[in-house]
Symmetry: C2
Subunit: 231 residues, 2 copies
């Protein structure tokens, strides 16, 4: 049975850029569950109504709709216990939750000035009014005035990533010798600017850059093969 | 054989407040290694010369001096492999390194305005000139002008701790069902304001407050019995 994933798309429907959808794309590959990406646009909230959410990712599995990336990962482990676990036990759940909360609180905000204007350029025309209004309200700035000093913004992003860079001097993956949901959470977050920006802001010579390369190679190079806006 | 720990002390030599020494105090209890705290003052750099460091913690084990909390934890696991591990394998090392780097980069800076003036009040007179000069230089502010809005500073500290609070909704300890060095790193960090400040800034009703209570109870209530400056 193939899972369907409502997956945030650009005007070009082959380009998927949501950090939260990427967490689930990689999670489905990790578990070896076949899935189909359904390109979804911000303005298509009616298509995911059954999930009770207005945001993606949303998956459809045998008629059931599940929203929210954490809840989807949790569901996949429970519904497919025979497939490799995304979070194998209490310690793994605590680690993934820490990484998720840290990404949201510390990493993500440093990426907004870099990535939000790039997202605006590449989304579907029908999404632009909504995107501009919601992001300008959230960020308290016109999109055109958001990025003031790209070099400083890139440096701030790489500085925010330092705990992960340091951890990755000790292990190939945040989860140790092989990846789990903690790695997919951070990877998805970084895929956001990687997919949408003209220049990849990640310092690829750092331990986290080397980890990112390993993540791109996972699951037969699934993410390495992903379409990028300027790639 | 008893390990000796050079342990940063107040004028009152029963009060130990270094976040880095607390990491090792708890680590030694975790491993069940008997140790003796040697009260040490900022101005006594000659006493730890053999370690090659000018900072504590420094341990002496059978004539060997080891400095730096991470290196000490690593040494203890290698020198005492039969005792419970502080970091059991690659994944545990990555987790502890992440927590250490995150504490240093994100949590610790939010505590300075709260704790540094309190430390100045309680350290030995012979340490005060050095402490004032080094901290005012580091922080770019007179000690008396450091804490401007204690309520806002406390809120900032608890906000910085959010990833740990969220993780601790999934598990009793950062390491899962029992604590390891990752827990001791964060615990030591929080012991700093807990020991030196008039008011404990930690939100004790949050998941991290409940975890802190569990940590205080570990090893027969070792940390709960610790002397505090105003406790």
């Amino acid at each position: 049975m193939t899972i369907q994933l409502f997956d945030l798309a650009c005007a070009n429907q082959r380009i998927f850029f949501s950090p939260y959808c990427w967490r689930i794309r990689m999670s489905l590959k990790h578990k070896g569950i076949p899935f189909e990406s359904l390109p979804w646009h911000f303005s298509e909230k009616d298509r995911i109504e059954a999930s009770g959410s207005t945001r993606v990712p949303v998956i459809l599995d045998q008629g059931r709709a599940i929203a929210e990336s954490w809840d989807i990962a949790d569901y996949l482990d429970k519904a497919y216990p025979e497939a490799p676990p995304l979070m194998a036990g209490t310690a793994a759940r605590a680690r993934a939750k820490f990484i998720e909360s840290w990404c949201n609180a510390t990493v993500f905000p440093t990426m907004r000035a870099i990535a939000v204007p790039s997202v605006f350029e590449i989304i579907a025309d029908k999404d632009k009014a909504y995107f501009r209004e919601s992001r300008e309200k959230m960020l308290g700035s016109k999109l055109e005035e958001l990025s003031k000093d790209p070099a400083a913004e890139t440096a701030a992003m790489n500085k925010a990533l330092k705990p992960a860079a340091d951890a990755l001097t000790e292990a190939d993956f945040l989860a140790g010798t092989s990846p789990d949901y903690a790695d997919y959470v951070l990877f998805g977050t970084i895929m956001w600017p990687y997919v949408v920006c003209r220049e990849n802001p990640l310092d690829m010579s750092s331990p986290i850059g080397e980890w990112f390369e390993r993540m791109l190679n996972l699951h037969d190079g699934f993410a390495r093969g992903a379409a990028r806006a300027h790639g």
